[in-house]
């Protein structure tokens, strides 16, 4: 049985790493990021008829990824469970006892610093630093002006640096 829209699937799959980086930035866990990636592609395939500009497929896909990650976080917040990102991600940690402990410590500290940010700053930092989006892409995905992107990112970077270094 062949899947209809094989060409379309191949075009979407070309952005799988961008989507994964974005999902990893939001979930901070490789396994969760992979699951979210699958969800994003399933949603995207279902919503393809609503795609107005095929040229803007990457932005469209990343926008779906962002909303999927935000929904996932909302669901997690409602569940009375221990969040996955409280423990270090085993798959993303380099092997070796020294590297393991150092990397764990630094990553946990960075996670805590990012989590302490206000929602908008946290979101833009993840999209910029993890997904590697340009200012224009950020402005299009977040529906804000490029100047807003820059000022928000400036505050986010300063805040996360201060939190990471233990400054007030």
């Amino acid at each position: 049985m062949t899947i209809p829209g094989e060409v379309l699937f191949a075009r979407l799959a070309a952005y799988r790493e961008d989507v994964f980086r974005l999902c990893l930035g939001f979930s901070r866990n490789a396994a969760d990021a992979e699951d979210l990636c699958h969800d994003v592609f399933l949603k995207a395939f279902a919503r393809v008829p609503g795609l107005r500009e095929p040229a803007g497929m990457r932005i469209w896909l990343l926008r779906i990824a962002r909303t999927t990650c935000l929904d996932h976080h909302r669901r997690l917040r409602r569940l009375p469970t221990v969040p996955m990102d409280s423990a270090p991600d085993a798959a993303a940690v380099p092997p070796g006892p020294e590297g393991l402990s150092e990397a764990n410590e630094e990553r946990l500290r960075l996670k805590a610093a990012i989590r302490a940010l206000p929602r908008k700053q946290r979101e833009i930092l993840v999209l910029r630093e993890y997904a590697g989006l340009s200012y224009d892409d950020l402005a299009r995905i977040l529906h804000v002006r490029p100047g807003t992107v820059m000022s928000r990112l400036n505050r986010a970077r300063k805040a996360v640096t201060a939190a990471f270094r233990g400054e007030k």
Partner: protein
Amino acid sequence: MREKKNGKPIAELPDEIRHIIRQEVEDGLVDFSSKDFEGATRARLRPAPGTARRRLESLRVAPAVGLALAAVMIGAAILWFAKSPPSPSGPGFLALSLEISPGLMNLQEYPLPSRGGERAVASAATDLVGRALFSAAGAAASSTGPGKEGPVRPVPRTSLEQKMKILYGDRTIERALESFREKFKEV
């Protein structure tokens, strides 16, 4: 190159944080790339094997219920139409009315008022029926009047015994005896 907004430089992340993020992303991508993401997504897009069969099995109940429902409906409809009288607007009612009163054929010639609707039609029909019945009765009376021979109808004749049976049933003999007693008393 340092990014700027309105001439002011935008804060950069320190190298140590950038390194942590880069390392985390690279490790994650290595793990991600080692898996068959496209195959897994395709597998999720395809319906699971047996899903179609399960759906068909669940649908098998539906035709049976539908057939039973249709049979009940058809039976009810047959009973309804068999018992119900002909509707006033139907051809059966018209045929029956014409059979009773052939004068109704003149209904089309009867001038109807422009307004009044169904009530006017009903009154006109009643009027015509009345007239037709009246004229039919008059014609019958004139045809069987003095000096004229009407149609000879066979009159059913019943014996006294039959009449007694009809009137008194099993008690015919008792009634006959009672009537004899009364006659004897009189004598």
